[in-house]
């Protein structure tokens, strides 16, 4: 019995070591340096600086990501709902085939595509103009906060939709049939029968998306040069231009707090 215990430890050891070395150590290191002055000693100066320079950006980051998360929720429920309740088999098949594509495209590539797609005289507007829908003078570019949200939603929706559609497909269809027999419309079935039942899956998907989006640097950097910008850009700027890891880590600490709040909800759901 003791041998088996030892074997268990041995089996877990590589994974544990990887987590310790690659995650816990850097995490602890960055937490400590967030509170460290240039010379050594303890300080809150890094946080004072982070708030003085970047409080607007912190708020901006939160708004962008919360709005993106809500839009992702809507879009993925719509996709999952249509895949489960859609009556046109061809449309369902096409949607099922199409919606997953962005999953396989890295953020940096998505950002590069959106940069040429969403620009004022970019692919999207040029198409509208050549179709006669818009006039050249009426076009506007989306390479600002709107571009960031569009890219996030486009990139993360498939991930959440995949989870949600899977959960919806595994539900007992008799509840749907019963509602239908009693005369409920599809929209009503979606929001009163399907969504409440897949809520745990939906929330987990959204939390994971939230955390992923918090960490993306390429999208805000490539889509929008405007200010305010997202915290990841500020962290990169602090390190690259001033070699100032203290303030960068303070900003990192603040984003940990944001994601930790999310993680807390996630764990609470897992345990229940």
């Amino acid at each position: 019995m003791q041998d088996r215990g030892r074997l268990g430890v041995l089996l877990v050891a590589p994974a544990l070591a990887a987590v310790l070395v690659l995650f816990i150590y850097p995490l602890g290191y960055s937490l400590v340096t967030a509170f460290q002055a240039k010379g050594g000693g303890f300080t809150l100066g890094n946080f004072a600086k982070a708030f003085e320079f970047y409080s607007v950006d912190i708020g901006f980051t939160l708004v962008i990501i919360v709005v993106s998360t809500l839009l992702i929720a809507l879009a993925s429920v719509a996709i999952g709902g249509y895949l489960t309740l859609g009556e046109n088999p061809l449309a369902v098949a096409v949607l099922r085939w199409l919606y997953r594509w962005p999953l396989f495209i890295p953020f940096v590539v998505a950002a590069q595509c959106m940069r040429t797609f969403l620009a004022k005289n970019g692919l999207m507007n040029n198409t509208f103009v050549s179709l006669g829908i818009l006039d050249v003078d009426q076009t506007i570019g989306f390479l600002d906060w709107r571009g960031i949200i569009i890219t996030f939603v486009w990139k993360q929706t498939p991930f959440v939709a995949l989870l949600v559609a899977g959960a919806m497909a595994s539900l007992d269809r008799s509840t749907i049939e019963a509602a239908r027999n009693l005369g409920a419309g599809r929209l009503r079935i979606l929001f009163e029968i399907l969504v409440p039942q897949v809520m745990p899956t939906l929330v987990v998907g959204l939390i994971l998306s939230f955390v992923t989006m918090m960490s993306v640097l390429s999208v805000p950097l490539m889509i929008s040069g405007e200010s305010p910008t997202m915290m990841t850009v500020d962290m990169a700027f602090r390190i690259n231009n001033y070699g100032d890891y203290g303030t960068a880590n303070a900003l990192g600490f603040i984003s940990y707090l944001m994601t930790a709040t999310c993680a807390w909800f996630y764990l609470k759901r897992q345990i229940r």
């Binding site: 940069r115 004022k120 005289n121 570019g141 405007e226 910008t229 990169a236 390190i239 001033y242």
Partner: protein, 382 residues
Amino acid sequence: MKRNLALLASFSLVCAALTAAPAIAQQTTLNVVTAGDQNMVDYIKDFLAPRFEKTNPKAVVKAVGTGPGDGGSQKIAEKLQAQKGNAAWDVDVAVIHQKMAGDLVREGLLAPYVRDVSTGRLVTSEASKNALGTNVQGYVIPMFQSQIAIAYNPALVKNPPKSYEELAAWAKANPRKFGYNGIKGGMSGVGFVVGWVYANTPDGDKLMKGPYDANTKANWDGALGKLKEFNRSVVITPGNAGTLDMLNRGEIAMGPVWVDMFYTWIADGKLPPNMRLQLIGPGLPGQPMYYVIPAKAANMEAAKKFVEMATSPAVQAEGIVKKFNWYPGIDAQHVKSQLDDKTWNKLFVDVTPQELASKGKVFPIKPYFDDILESYERKVLN
């Protein structure tokens, strides 16, 4: 038994491979680490490496890129600092930005190799002696000199502004037709902001030459207030390439760009050939990138040979000027004789050598540089 034999066989194979390895290792692998965009890595990998390996058959050049902007140089500095205690360092030649050169010399991380390299005599420029206020003579040879200038679309701008003052008036009259990339998206935007401070404060000379005085930045409120006002009528583009992209698509009519990127984009067909450059007064900054050799480079001799080749007039002419549209790193007269007039003049169509001499500025010394960026964050962005 059979299985044991198979095991033994594969074991002896592995042993053979291991003993064979030193034979290959007889070759020197020269690690050339460069900051900057992908074009820098390509230049070393595709242009310099084959030439060097031809004359030094035992050497293999390995090009490594550490990323664009000062961040790339910062990574090289951190790598050298981390290896400080080791006997031999795994960076043989590094290509770094001007901002980091001073720090590395002060920390004793670079070798004073220029005296041992024959091409060292071909460089007398200010940039080869002074890096943002630090004396770096003997430790660096400029790989090239680059310059920021205002690119404009002559179809939309008939009389381009000649100074910052005229530009501000033009931007106000033509809202959202001027674009630059702020300070967080690359050096062409940073350079534009630095030029703005030179133009709108009396401190220009002091900022470039020192000495540093922490109180100087208190006088910049007026200049930065004007810049905040200016920013309301311009577009902030996403990055150096973002400015060129928007020029190409006709979304903006004017914006600051690196001269070499500008010409390369035209040569690649990514920018219409009718685009022009204007170096506005009192001036915009430019900067060199430096070839340096770390103090304890593992292959010191080969590294010196490599830099000697890379800074020879023939390579500077063919690679730096003709292929990449940079201004040469060594003194121009040695390079000019290697090229036909047409190629040489292409570099100086819009910006004449006289203009370059009078309006091509350097970046400020490091503490002032940081002050300008932080003041911009504090006063213009907030």
